[in-house]
Structure formats: structure tokens, C-alpha cells
Symmetry: C2
């Protein structure tokens, strides 16, 4: 990833600091700083979102001092021990400085802190900066996706950073990207994935082939129908992004099936709130067992993060061990799973694609369920090659591309 190394240290600093020091940041001005018991109220002379005032706690201001002593100048890591600070800490002096472009503080021990007005406005927790920083999710059903298909060309994605950024934006917001024209040869899927980041190894190896095999250890390696599911639910952290690249599609049938699990979860929340709540709080037991492996994990079907946003859908009947909730909960749990399953299988939820040689799909494995129709293994070959990359590393790549592209 040599192309990123050329960006300057200022860009890294701006990214690390999230500082809107360009257009938005420059225009922020502090009119006055009014100290209260445990915080200061900053009255804004100019604010990008038109806020009049924002409050910042003294302990927060001390913990987030940006000087080279408190924040390591090379690693951007905090070196001040912020959870050992005196909770009653209070600056000896506090004032707007640089014509309102900064807040200047002097602490009782003489340490000085200076924070840019734009930096403060960008992380104004009193004014909702947290929500503004959350990731974008555009959920879809088949018609919504087809109205604006997330399609990309192999030549563009592998040679141009702008096109790679568009592909990653689709992956992040809609959970799916389709790349056409990928040479149907061994190793090409890994080349595309490595444009994004290193690969995530699993018990199936670094890469894998989906073709019907004798003596399979996985239903994927048969010619059977596969209902839409998420991969490797038996792992604590199933891989984030799955890549599947079609080399051969001679057999009749075997079309691919993709369903946005977040849209299905939204529907369940609206239509059957009790079933939804049950699926968020009940961990199901998953397991994969063969001669070499025995990997088990318990996790809910729909996982919400601490802010109540969707974090994950984990759904794979085939790898679900016998359910083991208490007797009284078993009936309602089956009812909730049946209800969610019915939504997942509504035809308008299902994007059906017959992949042709050269087509590659990449999708968020813990959001977008995938499956395939049965096919006749005697009527021709069907061969896909696949691999995984974690979301952490893919979204990092997107942020770094945006950093290079941005102002």
C-alpha cells in the first residue's frame, strides 16, 4: 500500500485528530468561556452547525490535552493517565485565545493546554457530535438495490483509488458490492481482496473453493440448495467481508441469493417487536465439528451495539446446535425464529443473481445473508473461489483513501 505512504504527516495528524481544520474548522470562533462547577460553557461566536453554546467538563479537557507531553507526538496515543486524574480538577485560568480560535487553560500545577475551537466543535459531546460520527447504513430490499446496483469494474477497482473508494463505500453502506470482469482464474479473488487489506484466515484456510466435492465437511461443498445464511456463526467473530468469485457456471441452477439482514431485522422490529427483542437477547448455540476442529460459540441472532444500532445478524440453521433455552422460552423462541425466517425468505427481500464467470461479489458476512439454489452437478461445472477480509481493515482502507482524496 505504498501509495498512502506519500501523504504528509499533517494529513495523518488531521486524521488522527479528526480535525476539520479546513473549511469548517477555520470558521469556528469562541466568543466567551464561562466556568461553572465542573465544566466550562463555551459561547460560540461562529459555529458550523449554528450552536450557541457547548459545555466541556474540566476533567475531559485535561485528559484531552494535545501537547507533546500528554499525547505521544508519533503514535497519537494518550500518555496522560486520564482515569487517575483528580475528579475535582479545575483550571486556574481559562480564556478564549487567538481571537476566539482557541481555548487556553492553565492548570494548578502550571501545565498549559490549548485546544483549537474547530477541534472542540468537532467533538462537542454536549451538542451531539457522537451521533454525527456513527456509520451510515442504507438497508435495502431487492428492488431498492436493483434501482441503484452497487456495480464496479475490475479494471477500475484494481487500478484506481477513486473506484476502490466507491466500491468500499457500497460495501460499508449497503453491505454489498459487485465487481464485473475479474479474470476467472485462481488467485484473482485474493488479488482483489488484498487491494483492500490482508486476508482473514479461518479453519477453512486463507482462501477456499466452493465446488461440489466428494466427502464434504461443509454443505457448501455439495450440490444441495443453501438457504440464505451467514458464514461461520460458530466463531466468536465471524469474518466481516466475504468475497466470492465465479470461475465456472455451466450447471443449470445454482443462482446466488443475497438478503439484507439489517432490513429484515428492521422489518421484524416494526412488525413483531417482541420477537425482535427475543432474538436480540437470546444466544443460540452454534458449532462446527470435523476431524480437526470443534469450534463453538453462543450469540444472539440479532446483535445490537451499546447505542441500540444493528451490529450483527447471525443466522445459520445448519450450524445451530440443538437449542437449549429454558423450557418456557423454547416455544416463543421458535416462533420468533420462524417469523424472522419468513421475512428473510420473502421474494421481495431476495436479490437473485446468476453469477457468470468473471463476476465477483463482496458482502458484509454479518449483515447480508447469502445462499444458492440447488444445481445439477452432472449438468456441468460450478466453481467459485472465495476469501475473507475483516471490516476493521476494510473500513480503515476506506478512511485512508478518503484522507488522501479529501481537501
Amino acid at each position: 500500500m505504498a501509495e498512502q505512504r506519500s501523504i504528509g504527516a499533517e494529513r495523518v495528524e488531521a486524521a488522527a485528530e479528526g480535525a476539520p481544520e479546513g473549511a469548517a474548522g477555520e470558521s469556528v470562533r469562541i466568543a466567551a468561556a464561562a466556568p461553572a462547577a465542573d465544566h466550562v460553557a463555551l459561547h460560540w461566536a461562529a459555529h458550523p452547525r449554528g450552536l450557541a453554546a457547548s459545555r466541556f467538563h474540566f476533567v475531559w479537557l485535561r485528559a484531552n490535552c494535545r501537547c507533546a507531553e500528554c499525547l505521544h507526538p508519533h503514535t497519537w496515543e494518550r500518555t496522560i493517565d486520564s482515569y487517575a486524574l483528580d475528579p475535582a480538577i479545575r483550571p486556574a485560568e481559562i480564556a478564549a485565545a487567538e481571537e476566539g480560535r482557541a481555548l487556553a487553560l492553565r492548570w494548578p500545577d502550571g501545565h498549559e493546554t490549548r485546544l483549537a475551537a474547530g477541534w472542540l466543535a468537532a467533538r462537542d459531546y454536549d451538542g451531539g457530535a457522537r451521533r454525527a460520527d456513527m456509520r451510515a447504513v442504507r438497508s435495502w430490499d431487492a428492488a431498492a438495490l436493483l434501482a441503484d446496483p452497487p456495480e464496479h469494474r475490475w479494471e477500475a477497482v484494481t487500478t484506481g483509488d477513486a473506484d476502490l473508494r466507491l466500491m468500499l463505500t457500497d460495501l460499508r453502506e449497503r453491505g454489498l458490492a459487485i465487481v464485473r470482469g475479474v479474470p476467472p482464474q485462481d488467485g484473482e479473488v485474493e488479488r482483489v481482496a488484498r487491494r483492500i487489506a490482508f486476508l482473514r484466515e479461518t479453519n477453512f484456510g486463507v482462501g477456499f473453493r466452493v465446488e461440489n466435492k466428494p466427502d464434504p465437511n461443509n454443505v457448501a461443498y455439495t450440490a444441495l440448495e443453501l438457504k440464505a445464511h451467514t458464514d461461520l456463526p460458530n466463531r466468536e467473530s465471524p469474518p466481516g467481508i466475504q468475497f466470492l468469485h465465479c470461475h465456472r457456471a455451466d450447471a443449470a441452477g445454482g443462482e446466488s441469493l443475497l438478503v439484507d439482514g439489517f432490513r429484515a431485522a428492521e422489518r421484524l422490529r416494526d412488525e413483531a417487536p417482541e420477537a425482535f427483542a427475543r432474538l436480540t437477547r437470546t444466544a443460540l448455540p452454534f458449532r462446527f465439528v470435523d476431524a480437526d476442529w470443534d469450534i463453538r460459540w453462543r450469540a444472539p441472532t440479532i446483535r445490537l451495539d451499546a447505542d441500540g444500532d444493528f451490529e450483527e445478524v447471525r443466522y445459520h440453521d445448519a450450524l445451530t446446535a440443538p437449542l437449549d433455552v429454558p423450557f418456557e422460552e423454547m416455544g416463543p423462541l421458535y416462533d420468533a425464529l420462524r417469523r424472522f425466517t419468513a421475512i428473510l425468505r420473502e421474494p421481495q427481500m431476495e436479490l437473485r443473481l446468476k453469477l457468470q464467470p468473471g463476476d465477483l461479489i463482496a458482502f458484509q458476512n454479518r449483515r447480508v445473508l447469502h445462499g444458492r439454489g440447488a444445481f445439477d452437478p452432472n449438468a456441468g461445472l460450478r466453481k467459485l473461489e472465495g476469501c475473507y477480509v475483516d471490516c476493521d481493515d476494510a473500513w480503515s482502507r476506506l478512511r485512508v483513501l478518503e484522507r488522501s482524496a479529501g481537501g
Copy 2:
């Protein structure tokens, strides 16, 4: 991992099925099967835990049919579509069979299901089988750990499966294992880790060296003190097990520090339940930024699973972005973090080890915090080599070793 392949198909089946077909399973007998509205009550003639009766829902019994048509005979995956079953499904016939050793069911469509009494007793969700299957956690403070140190020898662990099993048992239950006598040479830490499973790659590579470097991108690569922390909290799924192997320890200071985060969380729950609850429900923003990467994630300090058990402790002030909870929550959040930090730093909680060349520590990175004292980089070399393996794969290895060792 050729040694595991030699075990027979019956062993894999027993593991996949969790069937106590040995001692315990053989002695289970059904006296009578009494159908009710949506379930059957099995009255036990003999039961390993002395239960008189257990209830199983009809839909559960149908979904868990073990015949080759409903459960793939090679992959152990369910092929019956259990969430599409009629919720009112009811067997046409139901009876104890084989002198009470099995339950025999015939469904309205003629399909027959036969389930061993021992298999049913082992997953008796009406009788608490779920809790019995949960993982063992033995939390510790420094004295408790030193009273029974989790020490192992390199020769034994690398050549004998029994010793590897003991090491993995310490890692699983106590979150820590110490291995002595590992040749202090490059690559040896990876050899030990690969005895367990494949390595988990991160943005720092497959393996890493901890030594003081010029122009570091991480505080670990300086000579500064490192407060106890968990690694890579800025990733959605930080690596599960960290291995650190000491090659050189000439510098004064630089002793290693280990703290059981689960014990600290138990203490917080007992001593300050409101602070504990706050740390389980408040996601903190973490981030790592350098020229090539920008990896961010939000997660709570203490994460509980759906059953209320500890799943993870994630704690690293240095990589915590400016906190961004709403204004009213900021003071209580700092209070809670300060309280947790104070417990983590109590001397009785801290295991202090001066690693010598040849010592290797392996610990659960999302449970056991690690740190080091400052050292004088001019007084001699300090060099560690490290790598990561995920818990999924380590616990899988342990289960497979237990399968080979078991009856």
C-alpha cells in the same frame, strides 16, 4: 496437526453429537413418554443427575432428527429446514424403544425419528443442560495465581499433547499460561503458537517485536511505562490470545504486569454496581491512526454475553478517543472508569513478573490486562517477540485434544 486425523469417525460423531455414549450415556433409560399439547414429558427410569422427568417440545424433536436425511452424514450440519416447520407439528406415534434406551417418533408424513436417551439427557434444556455447557472461568488475584502458578515447560508442551492440553486448560480457565525454556530465538514464539492453531494477522503483521524503536507508531515500541491494558481495543474483535516471548532482558526495569480483568470486573460489580452497569452499557470510542491505517471501533469497557456472563474487558486509555457520551453522563462515566482503574491497579491484583530470556507468556487479551514498567533503554536491550491466536481456534484445539484423550 496430523495426530488428530488418526481418530476414528465415531469419535468425530460423538464430539459432533456431544453424545455421552460412554459411561453416562449408556445408563440413561426412559421409563415412559407422556405426550402433552406441544411437548412430550419423558419420565426417566435412570438419569445421570437423578432427574425424574424432562419435557421436550415436538418442534424441537423434529428439528433435531439425527437421520441421514435431516442431518448431513459427513458435515454434521442440519439439512432439515427447522424454522419452516409447522409450529403445530405433532407426532402420530411416540414411544420409548430399545428397553428405554431411545425415544421413537413417527411424524404424520411417515418420517421416523429415533433419539438415544443419553443424547436427550445431555441436552435436556428443561433440566439445565445449557448452564452445564458453559465455559469454566477461574478468576484470580496475584496471590491466588501464585499459589498455583500456571507454569509449563517448552519441551513438554511442544512434544506432548497431554502437556499442551494442560497449558490450554490454564489459558481457558485462568486466561494465562507461562511457558519456561523456550529457546530465545526469532520465530520460536510462532512455533509454540502454531502448535495450537494458525496465527491471527493484524495491522501490525502476523508477528511483532516489542523493542524500543526510533519513530515508533505505538507506545509499546518506546521505553515508557505501559499501564495494564488490553491490546487493539480499536478493532471490532481484538485478538483473543496474545503470546509474548522474551529474548533479551538486560535493561533494568521493564517487568511485566498482568491483571485479571474478570476478577476486577467482579470486584466492581460487588463494590460499585452502578459504575459496573454503566461500564457494561456505555461504548467508548477507540482508534488507531498512522500513515497506513485508521481503525476505529466503539465498545463497552466490560461486555457481558446474552446470559450475563463476562465476555470481554476492553481497556486502553492510550487508544481511547475523546469520550463523547452526552453531557449528563460524562461525569458519572469518568467516575466509573476511575473506580475500575483503581481496582485494576491495586497491588494485590497485579501479578508482576520479570521475564527472563526463554520465558513465554500467553494470555487472553480480552480478559487479562498486560503492561510493563518503564526501563532505561541505555542500560541494556529488552526484546520480546509476539503473535496472536484467536480463542475460537485455541478452544477448538483443546476440545479436539480432549476428544483424543477422553474415553
